[in-house]
Symmetry: C2
Subunit: 152 residues, 2 copies
DNA sequence: TTATTACTTTATAATCTTTATAAACAGTGT
DNA sequence: ACACTGTTTATAAAGATTATAAAGTAATAA
């Protein structure tokens, strides 16, 4: 992990904590830890992933606390909830807009930047009469590692 | 409902039954009814919607049967499973490629045709090294009816 | 036809994720 | 110290989906 990356994480965490302060949400040790984990984990964890990752630091923390706080974070716009085909939601710390590419074999999720598809939203609005607020897109396929494995 | 529409539904159902024959999947009364419902319903029903809709015709049908057969249909490519934020999956009979526009207030789902976003898939493949198979996109907003209601 | 086999449905239980509830706890201000 | 509000914990409940075993049904072969 590069130095700039570490600094970015710290800055993002600090900015997130500021957001909480400004919106009047208390910064508890659990909330701090959940946010920290979300910012630093390059994965897109489930609520249970987070719960397990923090049970060392907070042996008494309840699963409900994880869910409660993920909801709070979502409400103030700090995290996005991703609902894919698999059973449980995944949570993504919001930085810049991006899409996801998902490996259908191993489940890996890779961030993927692409200019916003404004044109699609406009056409949708025109055709359906909806007021459009946003969209989501995921691209599915097989990652390089799994493609390699499949050869053998 | 126009005459052509009825014919389309019948043709689609017949084609679906053919697919089942060709793939060696038995056509049971329950499967026939579930397929028929999926083809004719303009909605995007949940497993429970289907279960409830058919309990008149099949008072003894089990929920498991609905789930089992939706999985079978999905495996042979006749239906797509849509997983949105809400609790349960929705099932969409596969006709032509299309996207969905979803009302965030009432949950209505409207089909929306747009040329395939091949370019996005190509860029994703190039940037991530994935072999891309497909993508999904949903557009979210407020439908005309709910927009009207919001004014009052 | 009969026996055998594989597939399907039913009924039910189990699992898993998420939410609800109530009691205990912690921080803030009076 | 006291009251007030928000938070966490522990636990139960809800809801969706899957697993299991028994019974039923269709297809096949002897």
């Amino acid at each position: 992990m590069s130095h700039t990356h570490v600094h970015e994480s710290q800055d993002q965490l600090k900015a997130a904590l500021d957001t909480l302060k400004q919106t009047g949400v208390r910064i508890t040790p659990q909330r701090h830890a959940i946010l920290e984990f979300l910012v630093e984990s390059m994965t897109h964890p489930t609520a249970d992933d987070i719960y397990k990752a923090l049970e060392g630091k907070f042996p008494n923390m309840s699963v409900a606390t994880v869910y409660n706080n993920l909801r709070v974070f979502r409400e103030v716009g700090l995290v996005k909830e991703l609902t894919y085909g698999d059973t449980s939601s995944r949570f993504d710390f919001v930085t810049t807009e991006h899409y996801h590419v998902i490996c259908e074999e191993c489940g890996k999720i890779v961030d993927f930047h692409y200019p916003g598809l404004d044109e699609v939203e406009q056409l949708a609005a025109h055709v359906t009469g909806f007021k459009i607020s946003h969209h989501r897109m995921e691209v599915y396929g097989t990652c390089a590692e799994c493609s390699q494995k499949d050869l053998h």
